[in-house]
C-alpha cells in the first residue's frame, strides 16, 4: 500500500509538472499578456509532432527534442507575428474566436502532413525500463526524467518572471501597454519573445509526453482545458500559482483515479461502484476547481490584488 501511494505520488508529480509546462506558457500569455490563446494546445501538438519526427529522423532523442523545441518556438513566433499580435488589443472574445480558428487550422494542417492516425514516439532506449528507487520499488526511468525536467523549468521560469527586469516589463506591458511603451519598453518585441518562450515550453511538454502518450491530432485540446483549470486554480498570471495548481491537479487526478474506485468498492455494491467510481474520479478536478473558486474567487494566488 505504501508503495502504491508512493508511486501514485510520483505519477501525480510527473503529470502535474507536465501540466505546469503547459500552464506556465498559458499563464504567461494569458495572465500576463491578457490574451486568451486557445491555440496554445496546438503548439503542444505541433511540438510533439516535431519532436517525434526529429527524433525519428536523427535517431537521437536529445537531438530530436532540441530540434523540435526550436522548431515549435519558431512556429509560435511566426504565428504571433502573422496573426496573434493583431489580437492583443482586441477583447477576449475576439481572441477566443481567432485562436479557435487557428486551432482548427493547425489540427487540419497536421492531419494533412502526418495523417489522421496517431504516430508512435518512443522513449530513448536507455530510459525505457524501470529503475529501482527503493528496495523493491521500481519506477519508470522515463517518468523520472520528466519530473526532473519539469522541476528545472519551473525554477528557471519563476526566476525569469519574478526576478528579472524583463519579467517586470512584460507584466507592465500586459496591464497597461500604452504606459509601458511610454516608459520606453518595446512591448511588441517583448511579447513576441514571451510568446516564443511559451511555445517552446509547450514543445518541451509535448516532446516529453509524446513517448508516454500518443502523438495525435487533437491531443492539445483536452490538455488545454486542464491547463486552464490549473491556472484558474492557481490564480491567473501567477507562475507560483500555476505550479501549485498543476501539482494539485496532477495529484488529485491521479490519486482520484486509484483511490475513488477503491473507496467506492468498499462503500457500495460492486456494479454501482464500477459505474459511479470512474465518473466521480473524472469530475474530481472540476469539483476541486469549483471548490477553490467558491472560497477564493480569484484562485489560490491572485496576481492582481
Amino acid at each position: 500500500m505504501t508503495i502504491l501511494i508512493l508511486e501514485q505520488a510520483l505519477n501525480g508529480l510527473q503529470f502535474g509538472l507536465m501540466l505546469f509546462l503547459l500552464a506556465a506558457g498559458l499563464t504567461l500569455v494569458f495572465g500576463i499578456m491578457d490574451m486568451i490563446n486557445l491555440a496554445h494546445g496546438s503548439l503542444y501538438m505541433v511540438g510533439a509532432y516535431l519532436v517525434a519526427s526529429a527524433t525519428a529522423a536523427s535517431g537521437s532523442f536529445a537531438l530530436g527534442l532540441l530540434a523540435g523545441v526550436v522548431g515549435a518556438a519558431a512556429f509560435g513566433l511566426l504565428l504571433e507575428v502573422v496573426v496573434l499580435r493583431r489580437l492583443y488589443q482586441r477583447d477576449h472574445l475576439s481572441q477566443v474566436l481567432g485562436t479557435f480558428a487557428i486551432l482548427l487550422m493547425c489540427n487540419e494542417a497536421v492531419r494533412f502532413v502526418w495523417g489522421s492516425q496517431p504516430i508512435g514516439a518512443s522513449a530513448p532506449a536507455a530510459l525505457s525500463g524501470p529503475v529501482e528507487l527503493l528496495p523493491g520499488f521500481f519506477y519508470p526511468a522515463y517518468r523520472l526524467l520528466i519530473i526532473g525536467a519539469g522541476l528545472a523549468v519551473a525554477v528557471l521560469l519563476w526566476l525569469l518572471v519574478t526576478r528579472t527586469r524583463l519579467g517586470m516589463q512584460v507584466r507592465a506591458g500586459a496591464s497597461n501597454r500604452e504606459m509601458a511603451q511610454a516608459m520606453g519598453v518595446n512591448v511588441q518585441r517583448l511579447f513576441s519573445a514571451v510568446f516564443g518562450l511559451g511555445a517552446a515550453l509547450c514543445a518541451v511538454a509535448g516532446g516529453l509526453m509524446g513517448p508516454l502518450l500518443a502523438v495525435q491530432v487533437g491531443m492539445g485540446e483536452s490538455i488545454l482545458i486542464l491547463a486552464f483549470v490549473v491556472i484558474v486554480i492557481g490564480g491567473i498570471g501567477s507562475i507560483r500559482g500555476a505550479l501549485v495548481g498543476a501539482l494539485l491537479v496532477g495529484v488529485v487526478d491521479t490519486a482520484g483515479r486509484t483511490l475513488i474506485p477503491l473507496l467506492f468498492e468498499q462503500l457500495m455494491p460492486l456494479d454501482l461502484a464500477a459505474s459511479a467510481g470512474p465518473a466521480v474520479a473524472s469530475i474530481l478536478i472540476y469539483v476541486l476547481m469549483a471548490a477553490v473558486l467558491f472560497w477564493k474567487p480569484q484562485g489560490l494566488f491572485p496576481a492582481h490584488g
Binding site: F30, D34, I36, V83, R86, L87, Q89, R90, D91, H92, L93, S94, V96, L97, G98, F100, A101, I102, L103, L104, M105, N107, E108, A109, R111, F112, E221, I225, F228, V229, V232, I236, S275, A276, P278, A279, V280, S282, I283, Y286, V287, M289, A290, L293, F294, P297, Q298, G299
Partner: protein, 341 residues
C-alpha cells in the same frame, strides 16, 4: 472645417443600450424561412428541411447564450449543459411514456432554468475567466453525471421512440418534418421578439449597464448579482427549450450534447455572429452550420477552411459578422479596447 465640439451638442450616434429588430430585414428573413419547405420539397431536397430545423434550434440556443454573454457580460462556457438537460428532460419523460410537448417542453425549460439558477448562484460570485471556468466545471459535472447514469443510456445515449405530440392541437403532427420545422420557426421568432423587447426594456438596459461597469451599477443602487442571476436563469431555460427541440429533431439524446466542445461551439457561434447584437446568435449559428455543411461537402479537410473563414472574420470585423452590417463601425478604423470578460 470642424469646430471643437465642446459647446456644440451633438449625439454621438444611437445609444448602445438600444437594439433594433430591423423590421424590414426581419420580415424578409421570416418570409424566406417560411418559403423554405415548399421550395425544398419542390427541389426534392427535403433533407434540408431537417437541417434547417437543426440550424434554427442552434440559433435559439446561441441567442440564449448571447443574452448572458453578449448583453450580460457573463461568458458561460457551460451553456451546452443546459441544452443537454432540456434534451434529457424530453428523453427521460418519453421513456416514462410522457409524449406531450405541452408537458415536456415547459418541463425542459424548467429543469434547465432550475439548474441554471443553481449554477448561477455559485458561479456569479466570480468574475471574468474564473466565471468561464467555473461554468465549465459545472457543465463537466453534469456531463459525467449523464455518462455514468446507465439507466438513461450512459455514454450510449437514449434513442427516443418518436417526437413529442402537440396533442389537443389539431393538424400539427410533429413527426412530419415540415410541421416540425414550422413549429421550431415559430418558437425562434417568438424568442427573438421577446429578446428584442427585453433588451429595450428596463431589464435590458440594466443588464447591459452591469456588463459595462458593475461596480458603478452597485454604487447607484442596483443589486447587480440579482439581475445577472435572473438573466442567467432565463438563458438557461431557453437553452433547455432549444435542447427539447433538438432532442425531437434528432430523436436521440446523448451526453455528447453536453460536452465542453458543444459549449465552445455555441460560444464561437455567438462571437462569430456578433457579441451583444440582437441578431448575433442567429447569424452566427446559421453561418457556422452552413459553412460546416457546405465545406464538408467539398473536402475532408473542411475544418481548415472553416478555420480560415473564422479567422478572416475576426481580422476584418471588430465584433463579428453583425458589425459588418452597421456602416459606422467598419468605416471607422476602430481600435476597440478591452471590455468583457
Amino acid at each position: 472645417m470642424s469646430t471643437p465640439h465642446l459647446q456644440t451638442q451633438h449625439q454621438d450616434g444611437p445609444s448602445p443600450l438600444d437594439h433594433r429588430l430591423q423590421g424590414a430585414r426581419a420580415v424578409a428573413l421570416l418570409l424566406a424561412l417560411v418559403a423554405l419547405p415548399p421550395l425544398a420539397n419542390w427541389l426534392g431536397a427535403d433533407f434540408y428541411i431537417g437541417l434547417a430545423s437543426r440550424i434554427l434550434i442552434f440559433a435559439l440556443a446561441a441567442t440564449s447564450l448571447n443574452l448572458i454573454l453578449g448583453f450580460g457580460g457573463m461568458v458561460s462556457f457551460g451553456h451546452a449543459a443546459f441544452v443537454g438537460l432540456g434534451a434529457y428532460t424530453v428523453g427521460v419523460l418519453m421513456t416514462h411514456g410522457v409524449m406531450s410537448a405541452w408537458v415536456a417542453w415547459p418541463a425542459a425549460f424548467g429543469v434547465a432554468a432550475l439548474a441554471a439558477w443553481l449554477v448561477g448562484a455559485v458561479s456569479l460570485r466570480t468574475r471574468g475567466v474564473y466565471f468561464i471556468m467555473i461554468t465549465l466545471a459545472f457543465a463537466q459535472m453534469l456531463y459525467y453525471l449523464a455518462v455514468s447514469l446507465k439507466t438513461w443510456g450512459g455514454d450510449d445515449g437514449l434513442s427516443l421512440p418518436g417526437r413529442s405530440s402537440l396533442a389537443p392541437l389539431p393538424g400539427l403532427d410533429l413527426a412530419n418534418d415540415t410541421t416540425f420545422y414550422y413549429v421550431v420557426l415559430a418558437v425562434c421568432a417568438g424568442a427573438m421578439v421577446l429578446l428584442w423587447r427585453l433588451l429595450n426594456a428596463r431589464f435590458g438596459h440594466t443588464l447591459q449597464a452591469i456588463r459595462d461597469n458593475d461596480t458603478r451599477m452597485a454604487a447607484v443602487g442596483f443589486h447587480t448579482r440579482r439581475y445577472q442571476h435572473i438573466a442567467f436563469t432565463l438563458a438557461g431555460g431557453v437553452a433547455g427549450l432549444a435542447g427539447a427541440l433538438l432532442a425531437n429533431q434528432s430523436g436521440f439524446v446523448s451526453p455528447a450534447l453536453m460536452q465542453w466542445q458543444q459549449s465552445g461551439m455555441l460560444m464561437i457561434m455567438v462571437i462569430l455572429g456578433g457579441v451583444g447584437h440582437l441578431w448575433g446568435g442567429v447569424i452566427g449559428a446559421v453561418v457556422f452550420l452552413l459553412l460546416e455543411e457546405v465545406l464538408g461537402h467539398y473536402t475532408m479537410h473542411w475544418p481548415f477552411f472553416l478555420g480560415a473563414a473564422l479567422l478572416a472574420v475576426v481580422l476584418v470585423a471588430s465584433n463579428g459578422l453583425m458589425s459588418l452590417m452597421k456602416r459606422p463601425t467598419w468605416l471607422k478604423a476602430s481600435g476597440r479596447t478591452k471590455e468583457a470578460p
